[in-house]
Amino acid sequence: MIRLSLLPSDAATYWNMADVPATGTVNAPGYVRQSDLSINVPTIDNSKYSYFLQCKFVLDPQAGALDRLGLVGADVVYTITATNG
């Protein structure tokens, strides 16, 4: 999960808020669902930052069928309260 600054002082600067371990045959093959419960700067502020989820595919085009690897999806769990959300 990435936070992108919208402020002129540091525009287009990225911060990593959370990440999960890599998957794959050398890491975690098969259907995998992983989570990261330690979120850096977890409070959302849409007036200063935009937020997005990111996945990096690392492929070897010489290795054969590309459809062996797929991304099912991602989700973010968050809380809101009367004074915070």
Binding site: W15, D19, V32, V58, G70, V72, D75, Y78, I80, T81
Partner: protein, 134 residues
């Protein structure tokens, strides 16, 4: 000598005023109640989830190409794929979950690797030029 107005005629403005108040109360009460409900704040912490399906992930660089693999997002080459996280301001993130489908892969030496952890403080240059397995 003019005749005095009958008593019921003299009382008619007051009667209309009272009738207007009653009608106004009946008409505005439901609207006022709905307004109170709309502005009512939550009193306890609520846990919610935002999700992004794989097909909503789009290549970060135009040099990267992807294709729909059923309901999954697959890539033709190494690269980053992103999906907007639509979260309300002041929400507090609790965790993130990413799912991958590597069901057809069995060989431990298979070079296909899904790297789901982004680089810290990455720049556009590092994203588009990345082509080696981590």
């Amino acid at each position: 000598m003019p005749r005095p107005f009958p008593r019921f005629v003299l009382a008619r403005p007051a009667l209309f005023l009272l009738l207007g108040c009653l009608v106004g109360a009946v008409v505005t009460a439901p609207a006022a109640s709905a307004f109170r409900g709309a502005t009512k704040q939550i009193t306890a912490t609520q846990t919610r989830t935002f999700s992004c399906p794989g097909l909503d992930f789009q290549p970060l660089s135009s040099d990267n190409h992807s294709f729909n693999n059923g309901l999954l997002r697959s890539a033709e080459d190494t690269g980053y794929f992103i999906c907007n996280a639509v979260l309300p301001t002041r929400a507090v993130g609790r965790g993130r979950i990413v799912s991958g489908d590597l069901g057809q892969m069995t060989a431990q030496t298979d070079p296909y690797v899904s790297r789901l952890s982004p680089s810290r403080f990455m720049t556009i240059r590092s994203i588009t030029s990345s082509s080696t397995a981590p």
